[in-house]
């Protein structure tokens, strides 16, 4: 028996599959953006199913505080680029597929070029800016996007931008949420997330990718699934069959002025005028801080006047995610403000 037939025999046997579906999977090119809580399980199942070309895009590095839900990594991988580590592990799992690591940050400058080589994109990102960027890029280039997002015990899954023929496409992320104020939505670092939810939602995303490629089952197109890991209830909300959005161009992503931990420490020794701003919650600050003023991210907008002063200000949080959002908000109001975000957050400052 052919080795490939043996490896995939238990899925070829599925009704609606067969060798034709397996051939389609072997020829498919899938891009996972974000090799985190969702990207890890999605990557494992897309690799094991035999997706011919699997791209993994992530510029971030493995951090200890994410290991509770990012099951591809070990403590020995700390500090290494996630896309590269993921590709190495997945190549061991299935040496018969092609793995491509994209280690640069996905921005409005490179996103069209990156996704051009793929048939379908899986959104495993952890921030709104990249979610909207991927959505708009997939709409502009006519590619389906499998969306997933998690917070605490709750996850969302949907399939965006499916070609319905006659020039119409199924709804996309902007049909669900036209815009978001990112500073008002807590992320996993603040509110926590149960690791198993990442596994459930990430595997559901991979499931939709496989169904799309194999042309079997009903996709979550024009629908959004909400799953609650506390009650195990899930609901599918109907959004209507066709998109009502008109996306014409990409919104430029903003490069956020950052400072790394070593440079900050150095500067703190010599520059008395440097001001630190902790944008975490009060509970997090109570447990540990490195000084400075405390302005929680969701109240930052009220304190814009403070950022017009000449002193350099460095925002910090635990991972760098919220300080990035804070710097972005400040620069939106005061483009000339002298503000930086501590890259990697307190996790890198030890």
């Amino acid at each position: 028996m052919n080795e490939d037939l043996q490896r995939y025999s238990c899925q070829i046997a599925l009704p609606g599959f067969g060798r034709e579906a397996q051939n389609l999977i072997g020829q498919a090119r899938v891009l996972i953006v974000g090799a985190g809580g969702l990207g890890c399980p999605a990557g494992q199942y897309l690799a094991s199913t035999g997706v011919g070309t699997l791209g993994i895009a992530d510029y971030d590095s493995v951090s200890i505080s994410n290991l509770h839900r990012q099951v591809l990594y070990t403590p020995a991988d700390e500090g290494k680029n996630k896309a590269e580590v993921a590709c190495v592990k997945l190549a061991q799992q299935n040496p018969g597929i092609r793995l491509v690591a994209h280690t640069q940050k996905v921005t409005s400058d490179n996103v069209m070029e990156i996704i051009a080589g793929y048939d379908i994109v899986l959104d495993g990102t952890d921030n709104f800016e990249t979610r909207y960027l991927l959505n708009d890029a997939c709409v502009l280039s006519g590619k389906p996007l499998v969306y997933g997002a998690i917070y605490q015990f709750e996850g969302q899954v949907a399939v965006w931008n499916i070609d319905l023929g006659k020039g119409t496409r199924s709804p996309n992320y902007r049909d669900l949420f036209p815009e978001v104020d990112a500073t008002q939505i807590p992320n996993c670092t603040e509110g926590g997330v149960i690791p198993t939810l990442a596994g459930i939602i990430g595997a559901m995303q991979a499931n939709e990718v496989i169904k799309y490629i194999a042309k079997t089952g009903d996709l979550l197109a024009g629908k959004v699934l909400i799953f609650d890991a506390q009650s195990m209830q899930s609901r599918i909300f109907k959004m209507g069959p066709v998109t009502k959005t008109h996306i014409r161009r990409l919104k430029a992503t903003i490069a956020i002025p950052g400072i790394n931990a070593a440079d900050l420490k150095e500067r703190m020794l010599h520059d008395d005028t440097l001001e630190l701003i902790d944008v975490r919650t009060l509970q997090e600050r109570d447990a540990f801080d490195i000084g400075g003023t405390h302005i929680p991210l969701d109240e930052l907008e009220k304190y814009m006047a403070y950022f017009t002063s000449a002193n350099t200000k460095v925002l910090y949080c635990s991972s760098g995610k919220r300080s990035n959002e804070g710097v972005k908000l400040i620069l939106k109001h005061i483009p000339e403000a002298d503000v930086f975000s501590l890259e990697g957050g307190l996790g890198s400052f030890k």
Partner: protein, 80 residues
Amino acid sequence: MKINVLAFGVAKDIFGSGEVSLEMSNDATIYNLKYLLEQQYPRLKQLSSYMVAVNNEYALPGDTIHERDEVAIIPPVSGG
């Protein structure tokens, strides 16, 4: 009429509960419902956008709400 509103995601924190009850006039629309909720819970307005579903379907501002309808508030979620 009394309308039960189910909260998802950060709306649970904003409402302080997974379900709240609103008293509304009989020909109320989604627009009225959002206005009432945002008055009562100002943090909801700051989300910029959230989905309102009635009986598991996406609802538009002009849609009328009926007694025994199940309304759900679904805010954006960013984690991955």
